[in-house]
């Protein structure tokens, strides 16, 4: 039976070890080496090597394949002195990672040399508990959660789509939610607009939503805009700086206005629309994909485009479509997965089917095409020839 010393010596003889100087050179040369910190959480919180990823030694085997799927990627594993990380390096090799180096002397030696360190922003103990299910997912983790907390999402409408979208974004810890809606809560809203409730009847929807969302999660700040989005106020509202716009408007003029403003401001739009039993959802990423005008260059005449107020909507439908919008929004913020940009999902609640069609950027698009003909706000009501309901 080997003692700890003997075991350590044996492991060290089986792995590659580099000095802090060599590690610093690798970091400087940006050769693709990924630094993996295997210390305890409180050690990481007191500073780490820039760009390093964190996974405590205890969960290393469980988590590393999620964090680093490419087993040929050069890894530099470190702990405080280079002993714990020696065992970690051995385990990584056992898992099939072919280019693993242990940082001899560890983070202590790194600091002694005066090399750069990063001080992480840390979640509070309450936040660690609240977001624990996110922190367990490699694609989110602490860094992703910080991104969510830093993110600013603007919701157009606090109605059917805005309700579930804002609730899930708030629950996820998206730190700032702007909500634009001029309406007050009406009894006929409550069949589906779950961010509001019976005791809020007559209250402005933005105020009601703010109360619900901030009560759900005290990390979230809601900025209410109790006004209808117009050509006159859109630039002022967008100037507050938003990572993503969630479009849950209920009329064509606002849809086209949101589109034009987002293209010109370069803000992605997560678009959803609903009618009776059917929903449509997609993502418009300015510069990278099509815009709303590429998909629908012209709105239908009013008699062919009844609103939910005129034609009705199944109460759960906005719950499904708005939740997909929240999902796309979180992915855009986290920069994870494949977004719906270039794909329009069609959901049919009667058949419970999900179809997908391709949406391409149109070179002839008057707003995002090669030779735009619309370069400033137009009269959207006239353009759509429709009464405005929002």
């Amino acid at each position: 039976m080997a003692t700890y010393r003997e075991l350590l010596a044996q492991v060290k003889s089986e792995i590659d070890e580099i000095s802090t100087i060599e590690a610093q050179e690798r970091l400087d040369s940006s050769d693709g080496s990924l630094f993996v910190d295997v210390r305890e959480p409180d050690e990481w919180d007191e500073g780490h090597i820039p760009g390093a990823i964190y996974t405590g030694r205890g969960r290393l085997e469980q988590r590393i394949e999620g964090l680093v799927p490419d087993k040929s990627r050069p890894l530099v594993v470190y702990c405080s002195a280079g002993n714990r990380s020696a065992f970690a390096a051995k385990v990584l090799e056992d898992l099939g990672y072919v280019n693993v180096a242990n940082l001899g002397g560890g983070f202590s030696d790194w600091k002694r040399n005066g090399f750069e360190i990063t001080m992480p922003r840390v979640l509070t103990p309450d936040q660690r508990t609240r977001y624990s299910r996110h922190l367990l997912i490699p694609e989110v983790g602490e860094e992703g959660q910080q991104r969510l907390l830093d993110a600013r999402v603007l919701l157009i409408g606090a109605g059917g789509l805005g309700s579930p979208a804002s609730l899930y974004l708030a629950a996820a810890g998206v730190g700032t939610l702007g909500i634009v809606d001029a309406d007050v809560v009406d009894e006929s809203n409550l069949q589906r607009q779950i961010v509001h409730s019976t005791d809020r009847l007559g209250e402005p929807k933005v105020a009601s939503a703010k109360r619900t969302l901030e009560a759900l999660n005290p990390d979230v700040r809601v900025i209410p805009f109790q006004e209808r989005l117009t050509s006159e106020n859109v630039d002022r509202i967008l100037a507050e700086g938003w990572s993503v716009i969630v479009d849950g408007a209920d009329n064509f003029p606002t849809r086209y206005l949101v589109n034009d403003a987002s293209v010109w401001s370069g803000i992605p739009v997560v678009h959803g629309s609903i009618f009776r039993f059917e929903g449509q959802v997609t993502v418009f990423s300015p510069g990278a994909g099509p815009c709303y005008r590429c998909l629908f260059p012209q709105p239908p005449p009013p008699e062919l485009a009844p609103s939910c107020a005129e034609g009705g909507v199944l109460g759960v439908l906005p719950g499904i479509i708005g939740s997909i919008q929240a999902n796309e929004t979180l992915k855009l913020i986290l920069d994870r997965g494949d977004s719906l940009a270039g794909r329009l999902l069609l959901f049919d609640a009667l058949g419970t089917t999900l179809d997908e069609v391709t949406v391409r950027r149109s070179p002839d698009c008057p707003v995002c095409g090669d030779s735009p003909t619309i370069t400033e706000y137009v009269d959207y009501v006239e353009f759509c020839n429709a009464p405005v309901h929002l």
Partner: protein
């Protein structure tokens, strides 16, 4: 024969059907077949002999405007989706 998905806003014109079978080897022929059986559809799908600009038609998930428009080929068993924009969100 192709299966044509009818959007909710056009169902009143076709007796409430969500999907209809229609004959034709091009989008134009399929739409003609539908319009012959349900004449009110004409005004809602066609304008000046072309597809109305506010309706998208997809064959195999691709917008026919990015292919051959009304002349886009329709094969046996293809699914056509008629899709006008919907603005509802509240």
């Amino acid at each position: 024969m192709a299966a044509v998905r009818i959007p909710p806003t056009l169902r009143a014109e076709v007796g409430g059907a969500r999907e209809l079978d229609a004959d034709g080897t091009t989008v134009a022929e399929v739409i003609d077949d539908l319009v012959e059986r349900y004449p009110p559809l004409a005004a809602q799908l066609l304008q000046d002999g072309d597809l109305a600009p506010f309706v998208n038609v997809y064959v195999g998930g691709e917008d026919v405007r990015t292919r051959d428009g009304l002349e886009t080929e329709v094969r046996e068993g293809d699914q056509l989706i008629l899709l006008p924009a919907m603005a509802g969100g509240s």
